[in-house]
Subunit: 289 residues, 6 copies
């Protein structure tokens, strides 16, 4: 259960309107790696977590914090839209060029009347498919670390796309939290290992004797780039699972050419039946009638 206070976690006040940047800033609100994604991902992981205790509690805490980030970015975009020229001519009066108009998101005015919404910087709606809550914390914490890396990368890029001091202040806050949150998930991965709750490979509980030994530790070369094997992935003396060296080999077919049987003639696939054009048509008709 949640409660809300109207104060923001951090200030979200631009020095002036900028509808073009408002469109860009949507990326970290409703894009694949935006705040909607991390808020919902952590909350669903927390709610679904079947292991009571510190992991579940931590997930619910950070998911709740991320809701405050959604709120701040929404507020910032709203303010960047405080003045939204309705025509190119109006835009020139404001920005000196028509670029802010042309680069703006038309739905910000037509559909929302000057407000943010859960879409990315191209106006593609946020999707529930962006989040993952697999039930396996090791897999999910790696994803969470990634999400914070991609998120920090995007706000770091946005930092170079604006001169507005107020916007830069909020971006700095987001950069800072994304730095910490990267550490949080990496620390949580260590904690899982310390607690004996998972290791490499994920899922660790799948019996290794079910694997095919000959494919288990080898980088397979399928492109002619001659440096592909010059990395630890092909040369490490011990793999990340601690079970021996990694190596490499050239891709080779182990399976035969697949030959599929003809399909059910009632599905009218080409060549269904016995491959004899005339009789197969008859056969299909027979099957139907």
């Amino acid at each position: 259960m949640f409660t809300h206070v109207k104060d923001l976690q951090f200030d979200a006040s631009p020095d002036g309107p900028d509808p073009a940047f408002a469109r860009r800033f949507q990326e970290v609100l409703g894009g694949k790696w935006g705040e909607m994604t991390v808020a919902m991902q952590y909350l669903y992981q927390g709610w679904n977590c079947r292991l009571p205790g510190k992991y579940k509690d931590m997930l619910l805490s950070i998911g709740t914090e991320e809701l405050a980030h959604v709120e701040m970015i929404t507020t910032m975009i709203d303010r960047l839209l405080d003045v939204s020229p309705l025509t190119p001519k109006e835009a020139e009066g404001i920005g000196g060029t028509s670029a802010p108009f042309s680069h703006s998101n038309p739905q910000h005015t037509i559909a929302n009347g000057g407000g943010a919404y859960p879409v990315d910087s191209n106006g593609v709606p946020w999707s529930g498919a962006y989040i993952t809550a697999s039930g396996n914390l090791m897999a999910d914490f790696y994803l969470n670390a990634t999400a914070e890396m991609q998120g920090r990368l995007q706000v770091a890029r946005l930092y170079g796309m604006t001169d507005d001091p107020g916007v830069k202040d909020l971006i700095k806050f987001l950069v800072t939290r994304d730095h910490y949150h990267q550490m949080q998930w990496l620390a949580a991965i260590e904690q899982l290992k310390e607690d004996g709750l998972g290791g490499i490979p994920v899922p660790e509980a799948f019996p290794l004797e079910e694997e095919y030994e000959e494919f288990a530790r080898t980088f397979i070369v399928a492109s002619d780039g001659d440096k592909a094997t010059d990395g630890l992935w092909a040369t490490a003396e011990d793999g990340p699972d601690g079970k021996g060296p990694l190596t490499s080999s050239v891709i080779a077919a182990q399976g035969p050419v697949p030959v599929l049987p003809p399909g059910d003639p009632r599905l009218f696939g080409t060549g269904s039946g016995d491959g004899d054009g005339a009789s197969l048509l008859q056969k299909a008709k027979d099957a139907l009638l």
Copy 2:
């Protein structure tokens, strides 16, 4: 540029048809974490890689291998659909219950005539939004490691959902490669660090002095679960970035309650204008006429 041989990388022959499992197996073909995703993700990362050499070569190699995985799973699903009962009655004749019919994907017969296609186990089409190629290898390699973890987790689960020896054989191959590929990406992360091409946080080049120190190393408690701070993310003596201890604090508002100005009356938002009901309507009309 690619060339193709018709032999499969590994055999993909079930012992018998099973349209219900064919639907389930679509998850690792066209689902968010399926083979379409990893093949395309690695290839786009490779093509877009602006750093020549081993990383680019490796990405193109593994992306090419994954195309062979797409091919094998497609072939397996095709064969699981070799017999697809068209009605519940037919299904009973085959499987003893109508479950295989009821759990099947209707498009496998109606739209495809007994063939696989890039959708997930619910028939939702694969989306280009599933892949990420950010230009930052550290962020992407973490995602790639995650993709292999989620992928191995899913095939490990599918292993318990079938008794067909041929299907299990292919799953074992996939489990094995996903094990190796997890190691590959984790080794590649180490390699990036060794080569001085990235560290924590991602992106490392963003100047740390731009961050807010007071928010940089602290887990923020926003839920009442009392164990949320009992992990390394709140107690580590040194964070994963090697810059000092992590700590925790309770969530607190640092920003004021946001007050938005009234909008442009031509956008007809409620209360646009000066907040005086009558006059704001007039104002909107004046602006228009």
Copy 3:
């Protein structure tokens, strides 16, 4: 800014697992009219609201309550998935028939390991396009009232689809709140009118003299159903805007047959150019070279 407590707003405990109903219950979590939609819709409307005071405060309150509903339904689905048979055979051992297996959502096990996620009852992901925050409260409050009507309708239907007393208890809570929330939005519409902040038509500020009088109050008959004009929409002595009676007329074309000019020959549309087959090809070639 938000805080969270782990206690639920209302109990969410089924008497037993039911993966088939878990799939169905997803509709009111991640479907178009589910709890994700109302939570996000009210919060975005609240954050974006440019009129300070009671409407904004109320929107933020109810949006926050709806987050607790998301949490409860997620928890209920998790518990309905506590036992998820992996094969039809296992399912028979549990439920007596294979229906629960066949009607289940395969991603609940394969992708989520027994957890809820933001998709509808067919597994289609929740979309940011489901929510609207137009900036005009009158338009949005009508939508909000609708959302609660559609939502109550769906849970009322689900009530007849389960015999589980625990599930029915939660549904009764949701039915109750959706009843109140319908009243809330209808009362809020009255409040807007009382405050002089909007009326019919929406938006009220658009100058009526810009409308075409001859099309302003008439139901247009375009189908041959002979009862189409037997309702208040065609016979009311005074319309909902209080500006006179409503009437009806038969559909009639007021505009001419549109004739489009040939397109730019460089777009290679059929007949682009002057309509002379030979010369238009030449013209296109000329334009290009």
Copy 4:
């Protein structure tokens, strides 16, 4: 069954081309609240209506009229695209600035050769999920009223974004019909009540004694905005259902902290099994082998 005449319901002739406005105008053609939505929504509601008579006849009439609106807006967009500069340089020659080029939809030329199509102003395709036909007319008529409000709001905004007299003429027609259609649906709601076919709450037939009295009439305060209860939704002497006063209370947890059991070890969730790291891995292996 339908028939078509080539004359338009109303003229759709701009005074000149404007590819930038063509992109914007797509919002009311293929956007969530555009003409595609209302045409399809009313037709599906009409076809699916199980109550013969005036409601069904009326729905089919208005749905058919809306098809003519789809046609007019498509025609208008086509004409706005009569001249579509292919490069920024060409655009300058025409409009004086490059804004019309930059703000244009690239698919209008590349994919359509100068034609409209069912997407919104950002190019996101129209979705069948935009429409609702619930089977309950009261719920659907509220949605239909909303759709006309949102639609009129959008065209009213677009009115301020163009100076083209011909475009303004068509917008005025749309504004007029959306005014009438709001009244139509509100009158239809009254008619339903008069006919005893529905009331508040929707659905009225669900037995009220199944509701929880203590949650039935109270606004729940979950945010700290101090004016949230200053409206009729918390103070009305009688609610819209006519069953007594509305009131308010502070959000409070009525349900316990949920504790989920460990999951099936074959799903490899973290902590599945008995919570003992070592033995749970063994258990998962045992279950598999």
Copy 5:
């Protein structure tokens, strides 16, 4: 402009309810190749057609007919849903097995109350992206011919999936019209050629001298299947464009290995800058500060 009569173009009466088949039948209503697609595709092609006369008139006629097909299939699905068991137990009472329940679409009852809607047989919403109106009639008529082929194929398959005489009657009508419509589009292609309005290749007006002769008439072998060149595509004495024989060659690289420059350091790509780990970080920092 359209008008509607309530009589159907053809009868749509099943002999009894069948919610499982109702789900399947959705494929030809709201699937990629269903009636929604052809209705909308032909209407948009007609409205957008810049060539006045027979092609435009014909497109508008057939698009209007297809609306009647949408109506008939919707009506049929509605009737197949006349009895929709709400639980597996009820379903057994009706159909003898739980298959019809398990194979049903849960939204048919929960969201629609027993009605059809524009989604495919898996419940994925119809998308505006399914239709194409390119402005080039030759390209579009080939697509239209394909659409009728795919559509007839799907209804022919559905014919074998039901024993209901009433359903079979409607399917036979659809099969018949899809047969004619295939002929219609193929005849229209011939007509375009006769009228000198297009030929092979499409678009014919693009100057052939701009093509690379060495790649213009050769099938490129990129897979090791040894029969790939045993067809007219590699051996025809004259190609479909009438400009000479077709031949084959083995795939060969004509372009060099691409080497991309390092990216802008402000985008924080790996290796952006000069490739020297230390200095590139400095460079990125310098660029920012």
Copy 6:
């Protein structure tokens, strides 16, 4: 199974960066008719092909070639993004106007750091729904021919949208191959006929005696355009199926007005029950309690 060489099939080097054109060029990479579509469509058709021999081998060859086209366009877009101005001011310094900035895709910088990805020119992600592999080669080859026509049309249009000689060179290569590929599929259609594997209508095996003769050969006039029957589709002496002349008739209703029964009262549809307002509510309540 695939192997890759790093050399490109054809050179992909622009003379200079152009982020605005990079956005446009995405259409033929990740749009509905782009290279992702044809590559995946041909490969899935090949893998799923149940007829061994030349068709299967050919499909796998061309699908593999198309992967090289994906690679070339990706490389070209990457290079067009070599310089991506981050602000309008920077853009002016480069291009003389802000058009390239305003027309650029913001995700190219924010999300990808200067790289291509599988979306269209509006940033809408590529969808698995774009491809079709129906199992019927005749239907699919017509679609494949269409795909090459639409693809060639789009690149021919793009040819007029750039002055960059390097970009034009690659477009000329694509135009050339799309010319050949049109011929390839048309020749393959002829080959299928020669081999007796299909004809018109598709599917040919469906028994013609099941069709309704009176609807089998007639163009149905449903719009008032007076030239609709002036084409071969209504006048041919012999239809494309060789079974006699085509003709025309005016649309006429053959089916009655559909009357749907009231629905299950537990679905709370309006008028469910016996049509008597009061009693139907009671009936619904009775059914529930």
